[in-house]
């Protein structure tokens, strides 16, 4: 019987298999950042263990670092200490690290792909749930906890229980103005935040195939918001073209051997998935979230839902609570919701294509009075590229705040926060209570909707700005 893409990658990494035990899988790439690693290194020291494969490990600083004044010491002493500790650990264990101020620095999930380190058929892990991003290349990539970080550092393997497979078929062509972010928000709204639990998702269909690698990364990035540890897209010519000549991509004969292998990484015609979901891409429109989990999303043209719409008591309570936290009234058109802040950036939408999309909307326009718009590239390299293309000037001319690279306003671990009670349209991945700062209210949107919202002062799509 045929196998799915995920099963092929899994099978190619089995180190040991025994009845009644999880498979022991080899890990090809271990990405490390400052937040989830200090206790893992402590564990190694306590047990007298070293890092088995420093050459398959890469460290970055991203969550804590400020996006202004990066040439000065980090002001917050607790953040500064966490960064100091990761540097000390990298040095002690002989690991390559991209520190704040380094030209290769950036968000861990932006840095890996841009270096060509993320390749089809690899296993990629990081102590970060958005590691699912790397699945866009046909890698099996997932977030792990700190105990598992320690486990991978010590053994370069992980014991893993088998997962189920789910096909997400996005059929037909995407209408103009509909982006990867809208697709994934629509998928999560359909299957729910728990819909993918226990599954590896494989995104398939014409709409997925037509996406750039940046768009595919946006989709796979948010697999975890549907409860799935990993999401994957089969590699194709788009993938190979993106990888060719990147610093860590195979060269010469190795490239040919790699591509020959990568071409085998497709789900066989006679393979079966444990579950299948189909989405009609032709009916999609820009999506935004209204509530406090990423499954609480609707088309921008819709209105704030009512608890009376709920199908059961648990859902009813969830809607009531979300409306109360978000300060919203049922029946309000989503387009009538005013925002105080707009954030373009994060591992979901902080790549060059995202910045281009936001700049295209902002060109010749201005951010509305009273709205603070933050534009934060996902890496130093993305920032340099944006500057080379003149995008920085577009942002500055439009009145946006153009910053250095980092996780920034996605998660309230650095100085970029949404103040309590303020409302943000954000291209990040989580609209949880307090995610962007205590008391912050978040609406998840695409870069295009973020830029249009900044100009209009309320949730809006670029089409709303025309005429």
């Amino acid at each position: 019987m045929g196998r799915t893409l995920a099963e092929k990658v899994w099978d190619d990494h089995v180190v040991a298999r025994a009845e009644g035990e999880p498979d022991l899988l080899f890990i090809d790439l271990h990405l490390v950042h400052e937040v989830t690693s200090p206790q893992a290194f402590d564990g190694l020291r306590a047990a007298g263990r070293g890092v088995r494969r420093p050459d398959l490990t890469l460290v970055t600083e991203d969550h804590n670092i400020p996006t202004i004044d990066i040439d000065r010491p980090i002001a917050d002493p607790v953040s500064a200490e966490q960064v100091r500790v990761v540097r000390r650990n990298a040095e002690e264990f002989g690991l390559r690290i991209f520190s704040m101020g380094d030209r290769e620095n950036g968000i861990v999930h932006v840095v890996g792909p841009q270096l060509g380190l993320t390749q089809p058929g690899m296993t990629v892990v990081c102590g970060d749930s958005h590691t699912s991003t790397h699945g866009a290349f046909g890698a099996l990539a997932f977030g792990i906890g700190t105990s598992e970080v320690e486990h991978v550092l010590a053994t370069q393997t992980l014991p893993l229980k088998p997962f189920k497979t789910m096909a997400i078929n996005v059929e037909g062509a995407l209408p103009a103005g509909v982006t990867a972010k809208d697709v994934i928000l629509a998928i999560i709204a359909k299957i729910g935040t728990g819909g993918g639990q226990g599954y590896v998702l494989e995104y398939r269909g014409e709409a997925i195939r037509s996406l750039s690698m940046e768009g595919r990364m946006t989709i796979c990035n948010m697999s975890i918001e549907a409860g799935a540890r990993a999401g994957m897209i089969a590699p194709d010519e788009t993938t190979f073209a993106y990888l060719k000549d990147r610093p860590h991509a195979p060269k010469g004969a190795d490239w040919d051997a790699a591509v020959a292998y990568w071409r085998t990484l497709v789900t066989d015609d006679d393979a079966t998935f444990d579950a299948e979901v189909t989405i009609d891409a032709t009916t999609l429109t820009p999506y935004v979230t209204w509530g406090t989990n990423p499954g609480q999303g609707l088309p921008l043209s819709a209105s704030v839902p009512s608890p009376a719409d709920a199908t059961d008591e648990v859902a009813k309570v969830a809607i009531e609570r979300a409306l109360d936290y978000m300060g919203l009234t049922p029946g309000t058109p989503l387009r009538d919701i005013n925002v105080d802040m707009v954030f373009v950036g994060s591992c979901t939408n902080g790549r060059i294509e995202d910045l281009r999309a936001a700049a295209d909307v902002l060109r010749g326009r201005h951010v509305a009075d009273g709205v603070h718009m933050l534009v934060v590239p996902g890496s130093v390299k993305v920032r340099e590229q944006a500057i080379a293309e003149g995008l920085d000037q577009v942002f500055v001319d439009a009145g946006a705040d153009w910053r250095y690279a980092g996780c920034s306003m996605c998660l309230a671990m650095n100085p970029d926060k949404v103040p309590s009670g303020k409302r943000a349209a954000s291209t990040s991945n989580r609209n949880f209570e307090g995610r962007q700062g205590p008391g912050s209210r978040t609406h998840l949107v695409s870069p295009q909707v973020a830029a249009a919202t900044a100009v209009a002062g309320h949730l809006a799509s670029p089409a709303d700005l025309e005429g």
Partner: protein, 197 residues
Amino acid sequence: MEKFVSFTGVAAPLRRSNVDTDQIVPAEYLKRVTRTGFADGCFASWRKDPGFVLNQPAYREAQVLVAGPDFGTGSSREHAVWALQDYGFKAVISSRFADIFRGNSAKTGLVTAIVEQDGIEQLWKLIEANPGVAVTVDLEHRVVRCESVTLPFEIDDYTRWRLMEGLDDIGLSLRHADAIDAYEARRPAFKPTTLAG
């Protein structure tokens, strides 16, 4: 890791779904570099509300949490598990857990018992009718008991065995050191390394 066979303690009813890890421990607390001392971060935002369940005298000493579906969604932060453990929780009962949270719990000895939502509703009613009532999470027999009610719970054989024995995962994997060596020897040459140029 401490062995877990069966535990009986005060249970708190958390009538919320989608309790994400940002609620279990807000990001601000993740800046710490230690492995312990996260008790104050546990549900830090919600605990500011005097009406929050853990602020009620009967539940202040709770060690078993009975929560709505999709508990532990979001971030992979193991700090969420540490915060629950540091606060005093030994087990969480829910109809559905996020995968990464559940895996992290298994690594550090917090038992996550999957009980169907009907059973969760029964537990909530029993606990609220008699605040401070004890609930037993019996890992050996895979049941949750409260007064006259006994509910089966789901946990896989391997995790159950490891929790009951209190075994260290890294040690278990290193039994396969020869297999890891052999695998490394046959990895394709085109696989990348992180080394500079």
